[in-house]
């Protein structure tokens, strides 16, 4: 078991976690219910604890936005109306706010906020590469999510911020994004690359590289890149400083991570990897949330015996039952139903047994392991979100 720096006492429940922390980061691979979990935790914390909560999400399903009583999330923080809670049968003590991360919009805001002067600001916003880089790169999503989180956290506007991480395959990218961005801006390499374009003198050492790069990409293109990064250089100090601050926040005792997963093979492996990594980096893992967990009734040993008997003896049982119950049905259909019930139980048992094993392995690291049963439908109402939250509480 990994040693943890903070939190000498084990976390006993989500409420305790929400009370002790200022930032909860929801992580996990795609399709495991990360966004829904973040929303449910945020909504429940607001309803039950009387605190002001922000759920900062990345790309919510429209119906999830609707569940929070909104047409669509915007980049601007918006309060989920009190009436929406009342309509969902809750009497919230606190406030729930929600915002979506619009990468492009957030980058533009960032430039507007930190550009040293209006000329630099306009030049960056007008640079042809700017849109490409800010809009299309996964890394830029990660980075700007961190910037946004940092800005909101330092504003002190909320008691608790629940962050849904971007859908990267590699959750580590998210954590490393600020540092990588800072490295990038401070790298000698960048200066070396920009130098010839700013001085118009191609240095001797870098000549072969440029000739190759020019042949591949064309000179104009490289010049555009250089201009873009020279403009960005002006904001270098701010980037490095904020990157350091947000990295510190992630590692501080104000922040905890929720690792969300299902017990399917691939997501569970990802979760395992991420749990190990968070521990190794001494981040605080508040809870492991397991979604879509098959019910324990599928692991029943007596069930196995009965299912096998049903599958094996279905024709004979069908005869007895059709008579005994006065069933108005073809005996062959009754037999098929009985056989099917037995076979499917055994099928699902194989999956449930594998998942139970997986659960045991995953549960070794975190203090708190929370299971959410297999819902047969997606969650589209605040009521259902609160319902889910209560199950986790």
């Amino acid at each position: 078991m990994a040693r943890r720096r903070h939190q000498p006492a084990p976390v006993e429940g989500l409420e305790q976690l929400c009370a002790a922390k200022e930032v909860l980061v929801s992580t996990g691979s795609g399709g495991v219910g990360k966004t829904t979990t973040a929303a449910a935790v945020g909504a429940t914390a607001a309803a039950q604890m009387g605190i002001k909560v922000l759920v900062l999400t990345v790309d919510p399903a429209r119906r999830l936005a609707n569940a929070l009583g909104m047409e669509r999330f915007g980049n601007v923080e918006t309060r989920v109306p009190h009436e929406a809670f009342v309509a969902a049968g809750a009497d919230p003590q606190g406030e729930l706010w929600a915002a979506m991360l619009d990468t492009k919009q957030s980058w533009d805001d960032l430039i507007r906020l930190h550009a040293p002067d209006a000329a630099t600001r306009d030049a960056i916003l007008a640079n042809p590469l700017y849109q490409n880089i800010t809009g299309k790169f996964v890394q830029s999503h990660d980075y700007v999510a961190m910037e946004r989180l940092y800005e909101i956290h330092t504003s002190g506007r909320y008691d608790l911020i629940v962050v849904d991480t971007p859908p990267t395959r590699n959750a580590v990218d998210f954590l490393d994004a600020p540092e990588r961005m800072a490295d990038f801006f401070s790298s000698k390499l960048l200066r070396w690359l920009i130098a010839p374009y700013s001085s118009r003198v191609v240095g001797f050492a870098s000549k072969p590289f440029y000739s190759v790069a020019d042949r591949i990409l064309g000179t104009q293109f490289l010049e555009d890149i250089a201009e873009f990064f020279m403009l960005f250089q002006t904001m270098y100090d701010g980037f490095v400083e904020r990157a350091r601050a947000v990295t510190e926040l992630m590692g501080s005792n104000q922040t905890s991570f929720l690792v969300v997963s299902t017990l399917e093979v691939a997501p569970a492996r990802e979760a395992e990897y991420f749990l190990e990594l968070l521990s190794a980096r001494r981040h605080h893992v508040g809870a492991l949330v397991l979604n879509k967990v098959l019910p324990e009734v599928l692991l029943d040993r007596d069930g196995t015996r009965s299912a096998k008997a049903l599958a094996k003896r279905s024709p004979e049982l069908a005869d007895a039952l059709t008579g005994g119950l006065g069933l108005d049905a073809d005996v062959r259909h009754v037999s098929h139903v009985l056989g099917e019930i037995g076979d499917r139980y055994l099928d699902y048992q194989v999956v449930a047994a594998r998942e139970a094993e997986q659960r045991k392995e995953l549960s070794e690291v975190p203090d708190l392991v929370l299971s959410v049963p297999y819902f047969t439908d997606d969650i589209h109402s605040l009521e259902r979100l609160l319902n889910l939250g209560e199950q986790l509480w």
């Binding site: 020019d214 990409l217 047969t376």
Partner: protein, 321 residues
């Protein structure tokens, strides 16, 4: 969509990009497609684009590299590495004589790849189309990026064409675009499953592919379809069996575990039922004539090469082999 004439059979194409929302089983379908093609005598390459992917697990082999590994007869697998792809490109295409002269490529590469839009994407797509152009394989199956990024990846040659007006890259993108936009050679396979988000993303992706690229969508594969338990009229029998007197009778015959079995069956029925509207929404939303294949949920312990073989078998049945 495709031009005049019928679409070629899925495995008769030369380059298949397999994509889908995270968690739908994209990699297992890509490996099964590769396995099936190899079984039918095609020299096949399966390439994982995501470096952190786990394609090797699906073939039960060790870690994959940029240089393809033979995983079974007629089937090779590789892992995309854009830096290696750049080196290969420089060597083969530009005939750059002395690599050492370029300087510390590893360090500069990161910069260029991060700074210049689409470089990583073009090096990926370029390598794959190159394998097709050079006839190294009959079929290249790509375990491509997830739905969010695949349009950018596939559109990268066109994007580069727009950005880079001169230079050797510009000359290279033309033949890549030729291969990519030829429905006889290239197709996108969208993997999904009958749940809300995967279906929504699938419909959005197909719309985007049609609006923003000229690349043909070859097929939609619906993965993990749960079995229908009962035939026509049998559900009433099941409901009757769940009533107390029937439970008692059944319990006397097969033991007290029957309660668990009935609970399990009810779960199976409601899980199956909950998927139906999503399947319907998918069918209604897809363009006419786009082939849809269905793969059953695998109730299996294993998830390695054995599972891949099972999926390949189901795929073969769906494709009429």
């Amino acid at each position: 969509m495709t031009g005049p004439g019928p679409s070629p059979g899925l495995l008769d194409r030369r380059l298949l990009f397999v994509t889908g929302k995270g968690g739908v089983g994209k990699t297992s379908v890509a490996s099964a497609l590769g396995m099936l093609a190899a079984q039918h005598g095609k020299r096949t390459l399966v390439c994982q684009v995501d470096a952190k992917g786990d394609l090797s697990d699906f073939f039960g082999v060790g870690p994959l590299a940029f240089t393809p590994t033979d995983v079974r007869a007629g089937l090779s697998a590789m892992s995309m590495d854009t830096e290696e792809s750049l080196k290969e490109y420089l060597r083969l295409q530009l005939k750059v004589p002395l690599l050492s002269r370029i300087g510390p490529l590893a360090r500069t590469f990161d910069f260029i790849a991060t700074a210049a839009p689409g470089v990583k994407e073009i090096l990926t797509v370029g390598k794959l189309t190159w394998e097709v152009r050079e006839n190294h394989y009959d079929l290249v199956v790509v375990d491509a990026s997830a739905t969010g990024h695949v349009v950018g990846q596939l559109g990268s040659p066109v994007a580069i064409n727009d950005l880079v007006k001169v230079g050797l890259v510009r000359n290279q993108t033309d033949w890549m675009i030729d291969i990519l936009t030829d429905p006889a050679r290239t197709g996108v396979v969208v993997v999904t499953m009958p749940e809300e988000m995967p279906v929504s993303e699938t419909l959005e992706l197909i719309e985007r592919l049609e609006d923003e690229t000229d690349i043909d969508v070859a097929s939609v594969i619906v993965n993990r379809v749960l079995p229908e338990l009962f035939g026509r009229g049998e559900e009433t029998i099941f409901d009757r069996l769940c009533e107390p007197d029937a439970r008692e009778l059944l319990g006397a015959e097969v033991g007290s575990g029957v309660e668990a079995v009935l609970a399990g069956a009810q779960l199976a029925v409601s899980l199956r039922r909950s998927r139906v509207p999503h399947l319907e929404r998918l069918r209604d939303g897809l363009p006419d004539g786009l082939p849809v294949l269905y793969l059953p949920f695998l109730f299996s312990r294993s998830h390695g090469v054995r599972a891949t073989a099972q999926i390949a078998e189901s795929l073969g049945e769906e494709l009429g082999f």
